[in-house]
Symmetry: C2
Subunit: 284 residues, 2 copies
């Protein structure tokens, strides 16, 4: 099994058409590279969901703000290719910016309401960049199944909404967050952390673990749950709170009390990195 | 040859999949119904461009402003079906609003810059409604070729831009404006005209004909061309100017002087109707 690599949309379509000509179904795992076990677990699940797995590596400039880390975002391309090949990716698409954003490009896709809150409030324009690029990637690949990571919960919620609203002919699936041994959610941005910062980054998952314990013991007040996360974070001086929200997992509306379902999303700055994590709660 | 009719996206996809299973290509003609010879000429061209023709009738609420004619837009559905069947449409999709706009819908597609000018300046939100619905129709039908009418020139330009930008796997083709014997561009909204208004509605095409004559004789100044149209319209008291613009046919930027290519777009109110027409000029 060897992995093919393509750059242009035309080459991608030809390669996917060859799968289709053999009657094979296609799953798609879009990434920005800097591949870690979270991405690879999506590839593993994608392999079980379809005959062929297409992955993409594209550090999408449109989803980075002017003061964000687009230029220094890690791009270990040789290691990424090897990891994808080992994980069983059949076709790796590595477009250039001009392949995804044609000259004179003016078209944007926006999921109103969901894109300006939570992460979107901290990162103006971020989710318009995500929905705009994923629409293009989906049109280029035309997969049967799209795989997204639960680590970026708001992104997954927005993209599920987008695919449903736009009648896109694709099933959207989520893969669970993959964690380091101490609980830190795997993220390409963990690479930014110095050793002491890395040690304290565990605060995000530990805060959520305490919130989950409170939920299990019957706590339903959002303010109490947020205070519980904050109480954990107090012990980690290198972790600066960015936001902690308890929201409805479909509408992202803030909840005062947790009902059957809730999503707790947290963001914190740890050294040069902005890290996120979340906890999805489904009653008992 | 009998025409099939479907309502739901699922039924549409099943019917299109049957074409695909036989290796047949698909052309798509989206309409708002109130079918006239302009629509039917698109069907005729569509038949030559692909093995099968899918048409849709959907009076898209999102592209009408709050004070526009959505509720009174003509809906002669029995006549429309008969006309499409005679013209050789293979599959007619007649979705309900809920088939195109799922519950909780929040997703919009916008072609920035092009959507707020000309017609878009007179009709705020109109083109976002058009691009949002056509994206959905394209995802539902997944045609090889999309047919658009030149009568709605700005709409065609915006949709071509959108399909290119979003890497949509579809070819976009334009069909020429079909006219009544006196030159009036065929439009569903012509049905709103009383007899005297109908007689004077010829002002739009006559104004453009005079502009074309001026261009042929070497006039290149936009202000002069606009004055020429206005000079014609002065003789038609039931025709109230809404706008006359000379623009670049790709960027829609206003031109002071006509170069190799230009688009003259006009809009006027005639009785209860707002009518549009245009002239595309391709130097020699």
């Amino acid at each position: 099994m060897s992995m093919r690599r393509v750059r242009t949309v035309a080459a991608l379509r030809t390669a996917v058409a060859a799968f289709r000509a053999r009657g094979e179904s296609v799953a798609f795992v879009p990434t920005m590279g800097a591949i870690h076990d979270g991405h690879l677990s999506l590839v593993t699940r994608a392999r079980k969901s379809a005959d062929r797995v297409v992955a993409s590596i594209f550090v999408n400039p449109l989803q980075f703000g002017p003061r964000e880390d687009h230029s220094r975002y890690p791009r270990p391309i040789a290691r990424d290719r090897a990891a994808f090949a080992r994980a069983g990716v059949d076709l790796l698409w590595e477009p250039h910016v001009a392949d995804v954003y044609p000259t004179g490009d003016r078209t944007r896709v926006v999921v109103e309401g969901l894109s300006g809150v939570l992460e979107g409030a901290s990162r103006p324009g971020h989710f318009v960049g995500v929905t705009t690029v994923v629409t293009r990637l989906l049109h280029a690949v035309q997969p049967d199944v799209l795989w997204l990571g639960q680590k970026d919960a708001q992104q997954a919620i927005i993209l599920e909404r987008m695919c449903a609203d736009l009648l896109m002919p694709v099933r959207v699936r989520r893969g669970a967050t993959v964690r380091e041994a101490d609980g830190l959610a795997m993220s390409s941005r963990n690479a930014y952390l110095a050793a002491d910062e890395r040690a304290q980054a565990v605060a995000l998952s530990q805060g959520l673990a305490v919130a989950r314990a409170k939920l299990r013991y019957g706590e339903r007040g959002a303010a109490k749950l947020i205070a519980a996360v904050r109480g954990v974070w107090r012990h980690f001086p290198l972790v600066r709170e960015d936001s902690i929200h308890v929201v409805d997992p479909v509408t992202l509306a803030p909840l005062r009390r947790v009902g059957a379902h809730a999503l707790i999303v947290v963001a914190a700055r740890v050294g040069p990195a902005r890290l996120i994590d979340n906890l999805e709660w489904r009653g008992r």
